[in-house]
């Protein structure tokens, strides 16, 4: 066993998990409180990445780009809520799925119309672009550690927001019992907008964090949003804690699968077959995890009873 490699891969898995958490936490809030299935959450992730790329290129600074892009994504999120999502609250999940599926098509195409088909790069400042030497053997890209740190900070911030503030109290009340918010005399429309805005910013931030690694590209949200849904379903809908644990779990499983499954497969099949089938099977692992968890607990790990 190569312990160095294992450590590096665990950190890589953690980084992926953190990214998924940023996406999934907003998704699970929107879902838990508003009961809206928002497939277009991935489009906000993409919007964040593209806006951050453009602003970074304008200001010639990643941090300024990030700061400018965050409110921009929030505005886009609020507009989406105002124009489309708001009309869906009284509808069932089927309508949510379809309308937000339409949003994805529209967003992807709009993005190509504005930015063209090319990916957009986000240049990193030198202090983020290097490597950190943890031990003699373990050298990690600085930026990936920055993602982990940022994600954990946001996670703590979200935790404080939800558990310590008045807004958070309302959000929690809404997540556990939707009828209670109206009973408490809270302006539901406002609360929904705020929650959707927070979700949009978190999704956009996730896109901004990954884009310096992968570039901002059209449709980048379409696959990860499905994984984010897997995360919130595993974690139990409406539960931030569940989303966090499930995100880390999924991140680790995905990375470990990509790292070690081919080695495992080579034990009982030809090297050629192992190399080509291992990636597909490792991509399948998270879905298997989800099926197993739902088979045992139909509402997920930390899901509310009887939803």
């Amino acid at each position: 066993m190569d312990w160095t490699l294992l450590t590096v891969q665990l950190l890589n898995g953690l980084q992926l998990g953190i990214l998924l958490f940023l996406l999934a936490s907003g998704l699970t809030l929107i879902f838990g409180i508003m009961d809206v299935v928002n497939l277009a959450h991935g489009s906000l992730y993409m919007a964040g990445a593209f806006l951050c790329a453009t602003f970074t290129q304008w200001f010639d600074s990643f941090l300024l780009g990030l700061l400018a892009a965050l409110p921009a994504v929030a505005i886009i999120g609020l507009l989406v809520e105002l124009i489309v999502i708001r009309r869906l609250y009284q509808r069932d999940h089927l309508d949510h799925v379809l309308a937000t599926f339409g949003l994805i098509l529209a967003f992807d195409t709009l993005t190509q119309m504005i930015w063209g088909p090319d990916g957009q790069v986000i240049p990193l400042p030198a202090w983020l672009d290097g490597q950190v030497t943890l031990t003699a053997d373990i050298v990690l890209p600085t930026y990936r550690l920055a993602i982990i740190t940022t994600g954990l900070l946001v996670g703590v911030g979200l935790f404080v927001l939800v558990t310590q503030t008045r807004l958070g109290m309302r959000i929690r009340a809404g997540a556990t019992n939707r009828t209670m918010i109206s009973a408490l005399g809270i302006n539901i429309g406002m609360l929904f907008s705020i929650v959707f805005g927070i979700g949009a910013v978190l999704a956009g931030l996730a896109g901004m964090m990954i884009a310096p690694i992968t570039e901002a590209s059209i449709g980048m949200g379409n696959q990860i949003i499905i994984v984010a849904f897997v995360v919130i379903v595993i974690g139990g809908i409406g539960s931030i804690k569940g989303a966090f644990i499930a995100a880390i779990l999924v991140g680790l499983i995905d990375t470990m699968g990509r790292s070690y499954l081919d080695v495992l497969f080579k034990l009982f099949m030809s090297a050629q077959n192992a190399e080509t089938s291992a990636p597909a099977i490792s991509a399948m692992l998270i879905y298997i995890l989800m099926a197993v968890i739902l088979a045992v607990r139909p509402t997920g790990l930390f899901g509310p009873r009887g939803r």
């Binding site: 879902f31 299935v37 489309v84 009309r87 869906l88 009284q90 509808r91 069932d92 999940h93 089927l94 309508d95 799925v97 379809l98 309308a99 599926f101 339409g102 949003l103 994805i104 098509l105 529209a106 967003f107 992807d108 195409t109 709009l110 190509q112 119309m113 379409n222 499905i226 849904f229 897997v230 379903v233 809908i237 050629q272 077959n273 080509t276 089938s277 291992a278 990636p279 597909a280 099977i281 991509a283 399948m284 879905y287 298997i288 989800m290 099926a291 739902l294 088979a295 139909p298 509402t299 997920g300 939803r307």
Partner: protein, 320 residues
């Protein structure tokens, strides 16, 4: 329901079937052989949409993984053909049997869940099938599998002939429509529709709704597997891409566009969807923008789909 609107709906249904029945001679008149391709695809996807409608429209089981059955069905043609087994009856049998088994096994897990968890777990199982075929290097993996020769039936049914293939698909659609019509008005169908309206009530009447829904789920999957076998024959090609979650989303849209829970609605939905796609994609590179907005507008304003528009009543969406 007034008489005039009722006849409009009936008129369109008859007209639609008449046009579909006459596609090959009409195509000969235009000289545009591609139209028969379009019509064949339309008819095959209509079978898939009708099968999805059985669970989604009549049973309110929002399966987000129905495209998996199309893939299973198509691979059930592609893989035997790869081994030079061309017997069409065998292909159909395998397609339907494997689909049925898959629907049964996954239905056991999926139907325990409710609401969005059901949507997501059906999608998860479809993704598993997707990745299973991606991992099967022998059958082309991600690249897909070219089906060099179409299924062989008797001497009189030669699927290599476009017209024959079309009529086989069209006849299949008619049979499936009749089958679904019988099922939904049978005792079994009553239970399924009852469970859509009020599952708790059905249980208190003494129906084990889980088992009825499971059987319905298996029937729908089996029919869609059959449609997949036709699709594999038609496209001469199958790739895991056909089982992507976006494909399942498109199938749902076709059903809802036409009118979920109406017998003929999905056929209309598929037709309008494909014509629009063909028409728009020829006009503008960015046609998907129009398409996406159209989808949103349909959801927001056209409750009940084309069917309820034709029958002149706007159906409230059934809130589960």
């Amino acid at each position: 329901m007034s008489l005039s609107t009722l006849t409009l709906r009936g008129f369109v249904t008859v007209l639609m079937l008449a046009v579909l029945a006459l596609v090959p001679p009409l195509v000969d008149l235009t000289g545009n052989a591609f139209l028969i391709d379009l019509a064949t695809r339309c008819v095959i996807l209509a079978i898939a949409a009708v099968s999805l409608n059985l669970i989604l429209g009549y049973g309110r089981m929002i399966s987000f993984g129905h495209a998996a059955y199309l893939g299973i069905g198509a691979y059930a043609v592609g893989i035997p053909v790869y081994y030079e087994i061309y017997n069409g009856y065998l292909h159909i049998l395998v397609a339907m049997a494997v689909s049925a088994v898959f629907a049964f096994a996954t239905g056991l897990v999926c139907l325990r869940t409710r609401g969005v968890n059901f949507i997501m777990i059906t999608m998860a199982f479809a993704q598993m099938v997707f990745f299973t075929f991606v991992s099967m290097e022998e059958y082309g993996g991600d690249d897909g599998l070219v089906i060099e020769v179409r299924s062989e039936f008797s001497r009189f049914i030669n699927l290599e002939d476009a017209t024959t293939l079309y009529y086989v698909c069209f006849a299949s659609l008619l049979v499936v429509l009749y089958l679904v019509k019988r099922i939904v008005s049978s005792r079994f169908g009553m239970v399924i529709r009852g469970a859509r309206g009020n599952e708790l009530r059905m249980q208190s009447l003494g129906f084990d709704t889980f088992r009825y829904k499971l059987i319905c789920y298996v029937i729908a999957g089996t029919i869609c597997g059959f449609a997949g076998a036709l699709l594999g024959n038609f496209t001469n090609f199958i790739s895991p891409e056909m089982m992507d979650w976006t494909r399942s989303g498109e199938l749902i849209f076709m059903v809802v566009l036409g009118g979920a829970g109406s017998l003929f609605g999905p056929v209309l939905g598929v037709s309008v969807f494909l014509l629009l796609e063909e028409f728009l994609s020829g006009l503008w590179l960015y046609w998907q923008l129009v398409f996406g907005i159209f989808l949103i507008l349909v959801v927001l304003f056209a409750n009940g789909g084309i069917d309820s528009w034709l029958s002149g009543r706007s159906k409230r969406s059934h809130d589960s």
